[in-house]
């Protein structure tokens, strides 16, 4: 994977290179904002000044990088923490068989620079959480092609927190894409101005979780047998040894154990593919849907960077299973959004509710989706229950059985934190009057 020497943008821009794109940059259209400055200024910004960050170099990321490069963005950065797997090759078109095992960000960046002269792609093989505010401040735009809710929430909250009303440059538009099989969505988020990712959390389904008692006692589906093998049998047999869902030997073991369990209960349908699908929570993915969503995202980036046309306000949803169905709408900002809303989330609970029950309720709430929350009060500051470190967990554990009422009065606030979230959630507690 030798990196190719890239010419400067001036020498790389051969006559006619931007013939297609320049048609929409030289002239406004009927719906173009009157503020659009057609011609050289906008081309110079796009090609010599704009700095754009791509999060993810996978199914969407590969497409996004290629589109941005062809559109004329010359300074592109990309972050991805994964390495290339054989199952990526049916859609992640910048990778070849020989690249399996190498970092996605690096291989993708080198491919783009080799194919599209004069474009500089700077890869970072690691996590988005490794980077600080100063790093994110350098970009004009962020495009996310991620497969995890958690990473999107982090990125979204980080960009919302970055906004300084005194400094217009601190507002970084975030364009977010996501796909699942023939379905997908693309959206534009202007942090603090439009609805953010957190505002729409209740639109996404949580992955199916099977109750542990079903898995242990009353299996009915092949999935129950697979969960039994991975959740209960693996730790029982292998102790501390961590399960690696990418290791065919580990999947093979789970498949074998699940098959035996299924045979014992006369359950049909345990296969290798299903075993892998359940333990890795595999989401079907194809090149064509990724292409549509990535193109929609990059088109928004292009329109935002050039003002050549109005950008999406603010949500595009695509369903491709029955014809081509799409829905474009404005998703509304939530006043009680824990990230951009500023108002505390109202919650009415029973005066009898214990701290442990409140934690359980919070983890089940669709619009919060929080794992292992820690609770405290702010005025006065008092720890109710902390998940970590172990000493504090132990010290606060007795509070789990106590009633929430012992810590918070009617109308009082609880601060909820979790290691997976870069923000605090404020809950304003009201107590229901007993019937």
């Amino acid at each position: 994977m030798a990196s190719q020497e890239n010419g400067t943008s001036a020498s790389a821009d051969w006559p006619g290179r931007y013939h297609h794109i320049d048609q929409v940059l030289n002239t406004p259209g009927p719906r173009t904002d009157p503020g659009f400055l057609a011609g050289d200024g906008v081309k110079d910004f796009l090609r010599n000044q704009a700095k754009i960050l791509v999060i993810g170099a996978g199914g969407l990321g590969c497409e996004i990088l290629a589109n941005l490069a062809l559109t004329g963005f010359k300074d592109i950065h990309v972050i991805d923490m994964d390495t290339i797997d054989i199952s990526n090759l049916n859609r992640q078109f910048l990778f070849r068989q020989k690249d399996v095992g190498y970092p996605k960000a690096t291989v993708a960046a080198e491919f783009i620079m080799k194919r599209v002269p004069g474009v500089k792609v700077t890869p970072y093989f690691g996590k988005i959480q490794d980077k600080d505010d100063e790093y994110y401040m350098q970009f004009n735009l962020v495009i996310c092609g991620l497969d995890s809710v958690e990473a999107r929430r982090w990125m979204n909250a980080t960009l919302v927190n970055l906004v300084d009303p005194e400094n217009p440059d601190s507002l970084k538009p975030m364009i977010d894409g996501g796909t699942e099989g023939f379905k997908g969505q693309a959206r534009v988020i202007l942090p603090t101005i439009t609805s953010c990712y957190e505002c729409s959390l209740d639109m996404f389904n949580k992955p199916t979780a099977f109750p542990i008692c079903t898995i242990a006692n009353t299996p009915r589906l092949p999935e129950h047998c697979i969960e039994w093998a991975s959740v209960l049998e693996w730790p029982r047999v292998h102790g501390e040894k961590k399960m690696d869902t990418d290791d065919p030997e580990h999947i093979g073991w789970l498949y074998k154990i699940a098959s035996a369990r299924a045979a014992e209960f006369n359950i049909e349908g345990v296969t290798w593919s299903l075993t892998q699908g359940v333990v890795k929570n595999i989401i079907p993915a194809i090149a064509s849907t990724n292409a549509v969503i990535a193109a929609a995202c990059c088109n928004e980036a292009f329109k935002i960077a050039t003002s050549s046309a109005a950008f999406l306000d603010n949500y595009f949803m695509l369903i491709g299973t029955d014809g081509v169905y799409s829905y474009t709408f404005t998703h509304k900002k939530r006043d009680d959004c824990p990230v951009c809303g500023g108002e505390a989330l109202e919650m009415t609970i029973s005066p009898e509710m214990t701290v442990e029950e409140l934690i359980e309720t919070l983890t089940e709430k669709q619009d919060i989706q929080i794992k292992k929350p820690s609770l405290s009060t702010s005025a006065p500051t008092k720890q109710i229950y902390l998940q970590a470190p172990p000493q504090l967990e132990k010290a606060t554990r007795p509070n789990l059985e106590k009633k929430v009422k012992e810590f918070v009065q009617e109308g009082g606030e609880i601060t909820v934190t979790a290691s997976t979230l870069p923000f605090n959630l404020s809950l304003r507690i009201s107590y229901s009057t007993p019937a």
């Binding site: 290179r17 062809l70 079907p284 064509s288 292409a291 990535a294 329109k303 695509l318 014809g323």
Partner: protein, 522 residues
Amino acid sequence: MASQDVETVTTALATEAAPDAKTRRYDRQLRLWAASGQNALESSRILVISGSATSTSILKNLVLPGIGHFTIIDPNQVTPEDAGNNFFLEGPSSIGKSRAEEAVRLLLELNDGVDGKADVRSLEHVLENSKEWLSEFTIVIAHNLEAALLEQLASLLWADESYTPLVVVRSAGFLAEVYIQYHEHAVIESHPETPQSLHIDKAFPSLLEYSTSLDFENMDVTDHGHVPYVVILVRVLEDWKKTHNGSPPLSYEEKQEFKKAIFAMRKKSDEENFDEAVAQAYRAWAKTSVPSDISALFEDEKVRSLSPTSPPFFHLLHALQRFATEQPSHALPLTSALPDMKASTESYIHLQTLYKAHAEEEKAIFKSYLQVPVEDDIVDAFVKNSHALRLQKGKKWGTLDADPASLAAALETAPKALAIHLALTVLSSYVAKQPADVPLSPTAEALTAEALTLLPPGTELPDEFDEALGEVVRAPTADLPNTAALLGGIVAQEVIKMITKQYIPINGSCLIDLIETWTGIL
């Protein structure tokens, strides 16, 4: 069991080996269209007319999932303009080389399992001298083909019902259109989101017998909390009908009373199976019958005039009609797909066994109605999807533009979609009239005048038309990278649905506006 080595026993049960490299490569798509869809893709041969950025974007999304073969037909050399917007050209180093050859070479790098060929003949030449060559392909895709040539190609491929479907792709700047020309497209595996009826209102004999044999009152408390809701509903409905002249609950009050009867059977307040039964109670009064769009298929000419040479789909439909007419349930055959529900393993598996056994009986009856042999896999898929079958009838490309009244009607019902279609149509008529080597500079006035000639006299064009027209005037020859990439996805997706005969392709035109990020169907 105790005396045997656990490893040996479990190994014997797990019969599948780890998947091979090909299965691993295609894993994420096999979960959508299975081996049957993959086989269809791998047997397909695709012809793409032109090596434009849009054409290579489409092909990229077909080569990656593994079509069998593709040909790009394009007599042109790579221009500096092509080298700037096409990812499957190597920048300035491709300039002057054959566009088809360069694109094929770079597309083939994506997948060793795919065969590709560059054909540098002109389409005019092929249509004059060897048009039978087109029949070698499963599907033909044409991007921004000159209007007269497109008409010639569309007419040729429409001449016989058995000829190859044609995908027409047009784009200019932020606007685009995709049309699929086919006579008929039948889909068995449509992958519906709604499941088949569980036949609770028409319980088959073994289910009814099982349900009425249970002694709920004297049942052990644990067992009681694990009776599947299907069994509960069948039982409550049966008891209900005895006191209501054989009728299910009909009025709102009766339905509430029915739910109360379910609750009254509980032994404890936290029996989740009874909660499920209440939540699913509508299944007891929702009448299981043949959906109207399925019975409409029975009226198709090809079903009514069935002959031994009719395609299997129509034989299957004919058998389905006989089944629905002659069997006492007057419904579609039962399927064995039982959703998960709160139950003990034994009671759930027992119920599943009852469904499977009866579904097999009904399938045997269904098969006995078939007048020609049909492969078992197809029969299985047909029965399983019999509530969601599709038979789409298409039109020849250009039918809409030849009919002023239809255009005027669509201008009322779908102004935005029609505006984009019309703008692209008048642009291509304009292009056809211009000398080849002169840069295009259409004016809004000239194109509007052209549009009015297609419409009934006196038609007023809406604002949507001016908005769409302004975009094609602004960027008449722009094959924008993002528009090309989006079309690449949409067209490949539709082609995959056509080839695999799974999921449902568009019927007509899909219009795309990338200013508002909007799509519509015409």
